[in-house]
C-alpha cells in the first residue's frame, strides 16, 4: 500500500480501575486488550461484539478520550499516542465520531445551528455568514432542511437527531468517521435510513467508516471488513463475506448462530445450539478469553492466549483450533 491506513490501531490496551464485589475491591478491568485493527481509505470496518466487549472504548481511544495503557494509534500514518494535545487538534479534523444515543449527544441548550457549527468555529476561520451557509448545506446533505437551524434538539425525533450528529461529524470533511452504534436506538425503518445515509456519504465523499454495532444483521449490510471483539480482545477479523459465510472463531460462530432469522420455518425448525452463560467482565488473566464459554475449549485454551492465525478466505482469527489447521 502506497498510502497509510487512515486509522491504524496496534496492540491497543486500555484498562480501568473499578471497584467490584461487595467489598468494593479495586481491580483492573482490561476493557481493550492488545487489539490491532486498521481502517483503510473509503473502507467500512465494522466492530461487532457483545455488550461490554470494549468496542466503544476502542473508538474512544482513537480520539484519545481514554488513557492508553499500551499500544499505538496512528491517524493518517502519524502516531498520535504521545502527541501533545495542541498538535493533535489538527489531526483530529480527519477523524470524527457519531455516538449511539441520539438523545444525549447533542447539547440540549444549543440550537441545531450552534451544535453543527461548533467544529467550524473550532477548526476553521469561516465567518458567521459562511458558517451559516455551510451548516445549511450540511443539513441538506443529511436530508434535513435549513428550516431546522434555530430549533433545539428536543424538537427532533431520534432518527433526525442522528442525522444532525452525522452532519456535525462530516462538517470538517473528515477522512474517517467513527460510528459508535449509531443506529441501535432506532426503529428498523429509521435504522435503514441512517445506514443508507452513511453509505451515501461514503460513496459521495469517500469517507472511511469504523462502524461499531452489536447487530450482526445490520453490519452485514454495511461493512467491507468485520472485527469481532470478545471481552476486550479482537478474536477474529476478515472480509465481511468470509466472516459471515465461514466464521473461523467459535465465538463468531456462536454469535451468528444466536441471531434469530426472521423466518419462522427456518428459525423454529433448525434452531442451532447456542453457547451458555454470558460474557462477564474480564477476570480471565491467562488463556483465551472465550475459553470459559467455548464448546470446543481445550486445556491449551485455558493456559495460553492464542495469537492471530491466518484464516482461509482472508483475515485472522485468534483461536488454537486454527493453529491445528495451519499446522
Amino acid at each position: 500500500m502506497s498510502e497509510p491506513s487512515i486509522v491504524e490501531i496496534s496492540d491497543l490496551e486500555v484498562a480501568f480501575k473499578v471497584r467490584t464485589g461487595r467489598r468494593g475491591k479495586r481491580e483492573l478491568l482490561r476493557a481493550v486488550n492488545r487489539a490491532s485493527l486498521s481502517v483503510g481509505r473509503g473502507e467500512t470496518v465494522a466492530v461487532v461484539g457483545e455488550s461490554g466487549s470494549g468496542k466503544s472504548t476502542m473508538a474512544r481511544a482513537v480520539l484519545r478520550q481514554v488513557a492508553l495503557r499500551g499500544g499505538t494509534v496512528r491517524i493518517d500514518g502519524v502516531d498520535v499516542t504521545s502527541m501533545r494535545s495542541r498538535e493533535f487538534r489538527a489531526l483530529r479534523r480527519k477523524v470524527q465520531m457519531v455516538f449511539q444515543d441520539p438523545y444525549s449527544s447533542l447539547d440540549p441548550a444549543m440550537t441545531v445551528a450552534e451544535s453543527i457549527a461548533e467544529p467550524l468555529v473550532v477548526h476553521t476561520n469561516l465567518n458567521r455568514r459562511e458558517r451559516h451557509d455551510r451548516v445549511a448545506e450540511l443539513l441538506d446533505v443529511v436530508g434535513l432542511s435549513a428550516r431546522h437551524l434555530d430549533r433545539y434538539p428536543y424538537e427532533f425525533s431520534g432518527g433526525q437527531r442522528q442525522r444532525l450528529a452525522i452532519a456535525r461529524a462530516v462538517a470538517l470533511n473528515p477522512e474517517a468517521v467513527l460510528c459508535d452504534e449509531p443506529v441501535s436506538a432506532l426503529d428498523m425503518s429509521t435504522q435503514n435510513q441512517i445506514i443508507n445515509l452513511l453509505k451515501d456519504l461514503q460513496a459521495q465523499f469517500g469517507v472511511s467508516l469504523l462502524f461499531i454495532s452489536h447487530d450482526l444483521a445490520v453490519v452485514r449490510h454495511i461493512a467491507h471488513r468485520v472485527a469481532v471483539m470478545y471481552l476486550g480482545s479482537i478474536v477474529e477479523t476478515g472480509p465481511a463475506e468470509r466472516v459471515f459465510s465461514r466464521p473461523a472463531h467459535p465465538y463468531t460462530k456462536a454469535l451468528l448462530a444466536a441471531v434469530p432469522v426472521p423466518d419462522p420455518e427456518v428459525q423454529q425448525a433448525g434452531r442451532r445450539p447456542s453457547i451458555r452463560g454470558d460474557a462477564f467482565s474480564g477476570t480471565t488473566t491467562a488463556g483465551c478469553p472465550f475459553a470459559g464459554r467455548c464448546p470446543e475449549a481445550m486445556d491449551l485454551c485455558r493456559e495460553q492466549t492464542p495469537p492471530d492465525f491466518p484464516v482461509d478466505g482472508g483475515g485472522v482469527g485468534a483461536c488454537w483450533l486454527l493453529a491445528e489447521k495451519v499446522a
Partner: protein, 314 residues
C-alpha cells in the same frame, strides 16, 4: 461495615485538622485582646502583659496551635478566659442539652416532614398535595427566630400553656423536659421539616415513576406497600442527604432558638463566647459542632449503604 466506619473516620481526619485550624485562627481574625478584658476596668501597668504571658498569647502562633491542638486531642480545650472554667466541662454540661434539642427537633422534622412528603406524593396534584406544598413553602420561609417569638407570645405569655424559657434535663423530669423542649423543638424543626417534606415529595414522585415500582405493582403488591417499602427505601437517599445537610443548618438555628428560649446549650454558650471573645470556648464550640456535623455526615454516608446497596461499592 467496620471497615466502612473505619474508612469514614479516617476520611474525617483531614477535615477535622482543617476545622481545627480555622477554629484556631478565629483567634487572630477577631480583633481585640482578651487579656485586656481580663485585666479589669483599671489595669495597672504590666498587668495586661502578665495576663498575656499567663495565657500563652505571647508565644509563636504555630506553637500555640500545636499546643492547643495537642491538648484538644486529649479532650482538653483549656480554660475559659472569663469564667476560668475548664472548657471541656462547659462543653460537657452544655452539649447534652443542645444534642437533646437537636434530636428532638430532628425527630419532629423527620416525622412530620416524611409523612407530609409521602402523603403529598401519593396524592399528587390533589388538594392535600397543594395544601402540603403551601404549608411547606411557608415553613421554609418563616424565620426561626420570628416563629419562636410568636410561639412564646401565643403559648406562654397569652395562654400560659408552655414555659417560655429554660430547660429541664430529661433524666431529672421527663415530663418537664417535654414541656420545655416542645416549643423550641417545633421552632427549630419548622424549616428543616418543611424542606424534608418538599424533598420527600420530590424524591417520592421521582421514584414512583421508576420501572421497579411498576414491577412491584405488577407483582400485585398493594399500593401502600409499594410506597412504604419499595419506593421509600429508594427515595431515602436524597432525603437522608437533605436530613444530613439540614443538620448543619439546624445547629446554626439552635444558636438563635437557644437565645430565644434561654436554653443553656452550646448555641447560647457560643453567642456569649463570641460576644465576650472567649476564644478557648469559641474554638471548642466550633470544633465540637463541626465534629457533630462530620459525624452526622458519616452516618448519612453509612446509611447510603443500607438504602442503596450499590453505593457500598463507592
Amino acid at each position: 461495615m467496620v471497615r466502612l466506619v473505619g474508612r469514614g473516620i479516617l476520611a474525617m481526619i483531614p477535615s477535622l485538622i482543617l476545622v481545627s485550624i480555622i477554629a484556631f485562627s478565629l483567634l487572630y481574625l477577631v480583633p481585640g485582646d482578651p487579656a485586656v478584658g481580663l485585666a479589669g476596668e483599671s489595669p495597672t501597668p504590666g498587668q495586661v502583659e502578665l495576663i498575656r504571658h499567663n495565657l500563652g498569647l505571647d508565644r509563636p502562633v504555630v506553637e500555640q496551635y500545636l499546643h492547643w491542638a495537642g491538648n484538644a486531642l486529649h479532650g482538653d480545650f483549656g480554660r475559659s478566659i472569663f469564667t476560668t472554667f475548664p472548657v471541656s466541662e462547659l462543653i460537657t454540661s452544655r452539649l447534652p442539652i443542645t444534642v437533646a434539642l437537636a434530636v428532638a427537633a430532628t425527630f419532629v422534622a423527620v416525622v412530620v416532614g416524611l409523612s407530609l412528603g409521602i402523603v403529598a406524593a401519593t396524592w399528587r396534584g390533589r388538594f392535600v398535595d397543594r395544601a402540603i406544598s403551601a404549608l411547606s413553602s411557608l415553613g421554609v420561609a418563616v424565620p426561626a427566630f420570628w416563629l419562636g417569638l410568636l410561639l412564646v407570645l401565643l403559648f406562654s405569655v397569652k395562654a400560659h400553656l408552655l414555659p417560655s424559657i429554660g430547660y429541664v434535663p430529661f433524666s431529672q423530669n421527663p415530663g418537664g423536659w417535654l414541656v420545655h423542649i416542645l416549643l423550641p423543638a417545633v421552632t427549630l424543626a419548622a424549616a428543616p421539616g418543611a424542606e424534608i417534606a418538599r424533598q420527600m415529595r420530590a424524591a417520592m414522585v421521582g421514584v414512583l415513576g421508576n420501572d421497579y415500582v411498576r414491577t412491584a405493582r405488577a407483582k400485585g403488591v398493594r399500593r401502600s406497600a409499594v410506597v412504604l417499602k419499595h419506593a421509600l427505601k429508594n427515595a431515602a437517599v436524597p432525603v437522608v442527604t437533605v436530613i444530613g445537610s439540614q443538620f448543619s443548618y439546624l445547629l446554626g438555628g439552635a444558636v438563635i432558638v437557644e437565645q430565644i428560649f434561654a436554653i443553656p446549650g452550646l448555641g447560647s454558650l457560643a453567642v456569649t463566647a463570641v460576644l465576650d471573645r472567649d476564644m478557648p470556648v469559641i474554638q471548642a464550640v466550633v470544633v465540637i459542632a463541626a465534629l457533630a456535623v462530620l459525624v452526622v455526615n458519616l452516618l448519612v454516608d453509612l446509611s447510603y449503604g443500607y438504602f442503596s446497596p450499590k453505593a457500598r461499592l463507592r
